[in-house]
């Protein structure tokens, strides 16, 4: 059984300062890295003799419009099936430069996950073989999961929170 400390130490030994913000919210080891390092890091974790993170569970993104310089966060969930260990890696991007290298060469499943993230958030995965929208129409010119596109019409007055005691 691997512990969070062991895995974190292994990553630190190899990457040093390049991987930061180690944390374990609800027992899931989380760390952050930069977009220059993400492919190196995941390649290392996938090929590591004991860690063997051979399964990509999920790729998604989060939009934080208020945190300047860290507007977008791309989140990777990796899973080592041999060790039964999950790992979350985050990469923060700025709003005016949303490029990040693709992971399709490592995991075939990254293809659609990245397309979905592109469709909903507009994150551009450099080197992706087929970066198109997947859930929405091709003609759409915005990325709907960003926070600047509210779900409901802000001008409506019958739905304001005060009317509901909030």
């Amino acid at each position: 059984m691997l512990t969070n400390e062991e895995v974190a130490q292994t990553i630190i030994n190899q990457f040093g300062e390049a991987v930061t913000d180690f944390d374990d919210p609800y027992d899931l080891l989380t760390c952050s890295t930069s977009r220059d390092q993400i492919i190196l890091l995941v390649t290392y974790l996938k090929g590591h003799q004991t860690l063997q993170f051979g399964f990509l569970t999920d790729i998604t993104a989060i939009h934080y419009p208020d945190s300047t310089g860290k507007e977008f966060c791309v989140v990777y969930h990796l899973h080592s099936l041999t060790n039964n260990f999950r790992l979350r890696i985050k990469v923060y991007l700025t709003a005016d430069d949303v490029h990040i290298p693709t992971m399709v060469s490592l995991f075939a499943s990254a293809n659609w996950m990245e397309r979905e993230t592109f469709d909903l958030f507009g994150i551009i995965f450099d080197g992706h073989p087929d970066l198109r929208r997947i859930l929405n129409m091709e003609e759409m010119d915005y990325h709907p999961m960003r926070k600047e596109y509210p779900l409901e019409d802000g001008t409506r007055e019958d739905k304001i929170d005060a009317l509901f005691g909030r």
């Binding site: 919210p25 999920d58 989060i62 989140v75 099936l81 979905e116 909903l120 073989p129 005691g165």
Partner: protein, 410 residues
């Protein structure tokens, strides 16, 4: 070698640039969106060389309902109704998975009895899901009989849902912190009756198909995928187990007391359509085992946790008890405040690892909610699995993968 395969699989090259030169002109064939075998609405654009499928491309998103966006405005209870509509063949699993995610965020431990009832309901849902998948596989190979025989059992499972929560398809039987109500004597009787009757039906179904020459000719060696490719494509659930990898969330990361039960993980070898069919059949036997154990050892005690600020009180209480009325009002109006945090929780859904990635900023609704939908992830392997086969094979492959449109698009 893998990257070479990827190139072919992902680029969907026009035929004249493809690795093989074709003598005939290729036919473009739209399989779907409104084809009876596409189980919902998604389009497969196949390039056919005569009878053979050369390449394919899928277009999904026809029922994209923006659940993740809607969830950002909804209090935690109201998101349950969104999860219902993902894999609608086994909605209790989705519901309970969501409730468990919120419980994890809030740090609520729920009593054993509630956990066991959840296990029973989730396994019933798995039975219904696999039953329909395998039955429809029969229909898609041209054998309606099997489906007709087993449909009655799904009806009986729905009647159990109805007894437990009042609804049949959009089941809201779970609550954050436990169950809405206890199992009634009628529900217990119905589950026990099902445990007696279901094995007979399942055995009859297996007799119809398992060694049926025509069925075997249609499915053996069709749509096989190696374990390595399946893992690379992110397969989970029966589709991965058919390829020989014994990954099951219920065993690897037990939730809701699954560690208390004895059951096996059936695995296949070749990952072809027949293996997927057999793995699902065997999983139904295992689900019956789990339900039997849970019913026999159903613990006494409360069926909800002592967390009044989060648990929606039973309706009878609301009519009599002032505190219950206050909490009911506060919860329904979305006053439930969650701590700041991020949670990933996975359950073994009908199709594999169903994950909920929830980021809370302390508000009444999630800041961001992402569903890891197994259907969405494995459906992209479909053209690769169909390559070089005929159209009738493509139909059975899609059917045996159990692609549910609601889960694909979310």
């Amino acid at each position: 070698m893998v990257s070479e395969e990827l190139d072919i699989a992902n680029k969907n090259l026009p035929a004249e640039q493809g690795p093989v030169q074709y003598v005939n002109e290729l036919t473009t064939l739209n399989l779907g969106p409104t084809h009876p075998a596409t189980h919902g609405i998604f389009q497969n654009i196949l390039q056919m060389d005569g009878e053979k499928i050369v390449s394919g491309e899928q277009t999904i998103g026809y029922i994209h309902r923006a659940f993740e966006k809607i969830a950002e405005r909804r209090p935690f209870y109201q998101i349950t109704t969104l999860t219902d509509r993902m894999n609608y063949c086994s909605s209790p699993i989705n519901n309970m998975g969501w409730h468990m995610t919120v419980e994890k965020l809030l740090g609520i431990d729920i009593p054993k009895r509630a956990q066991y009832i959840r296990v029973i309901m989730m396994e019933l849902a798995r039975l219904a899901d696999h039953l329909i998948c395998n039955g429809i596989l029969g229909v898609d190979t041209g054998a309606f009989t099997g489906f007709l025989y087993i449909y009655q059992e799904r009806e009986n499972i729905y009647e159990i849902y109805e007894e437990v929560c009042g609804a049949r398809l959009t089941t809201n039987m779970g609550r954050i912190g436990g169950m809405e109500r206890d199992l009634s004597p009628t529900a217990i009787r119905k589950i026990n009756e099902l445990l007696v009757r279901f094995p007979k039906v399942l055995a009859e179904f297996e007799n119809l198909f398992n060694r049926n020459r025509i069925f075997m000719d249609r499915v053996i060696g069709v749509g096989g995928i190696s374990a390595e490719r399946a893992l690379s494509y992110g397969f989970t659930g029966p589709n991965l187990r058919a390829a020989g990898v014994d990954y099951d969330v219920r065993v690897m990361n037990p939730y809701s007391s699954y560690q208390d039960f004895e059951f096996d993980i059936p695995v296949g070898q070749s990952g072809d359509t027949y293996d997927r069919f057999m793995v699902r059949n065997e999983e139904m036997w295992q689900s019956l085992r789990i339900i039997k154990q849970a019913m026999d050892n159903l613990p006494q005690g409360p069926y909800y946790a002592d967390a009044p600020q989060y648990y929606l009180p039973p309706k009878q209480e609301v009519y009599k008890n002032m505190e219950a009325l206050i909490y009911h009002f506060k919860i329904v109006m979305g006053e439930i405040d969650a701590p700041v945090g991020e949670v990933y929780h996975a359950v073994e859904g009908g199709n594999g690892e169903l994950g909920f990635y929830l980021i809370s900023d302390g508000g009444r609704a999630p800041y961001r909610l992402h569903f890891r939908r197994p259907c969405f992830i494995y459906y992209q392997a479909y053209p690769e699995m169909c390559k070089g086969l005929t159209l009738s094979d493509a139909i059975v492959i899609m059917s045996s993968m159990n692609v549910i449109a609601g889960e694909l698009d979310a």
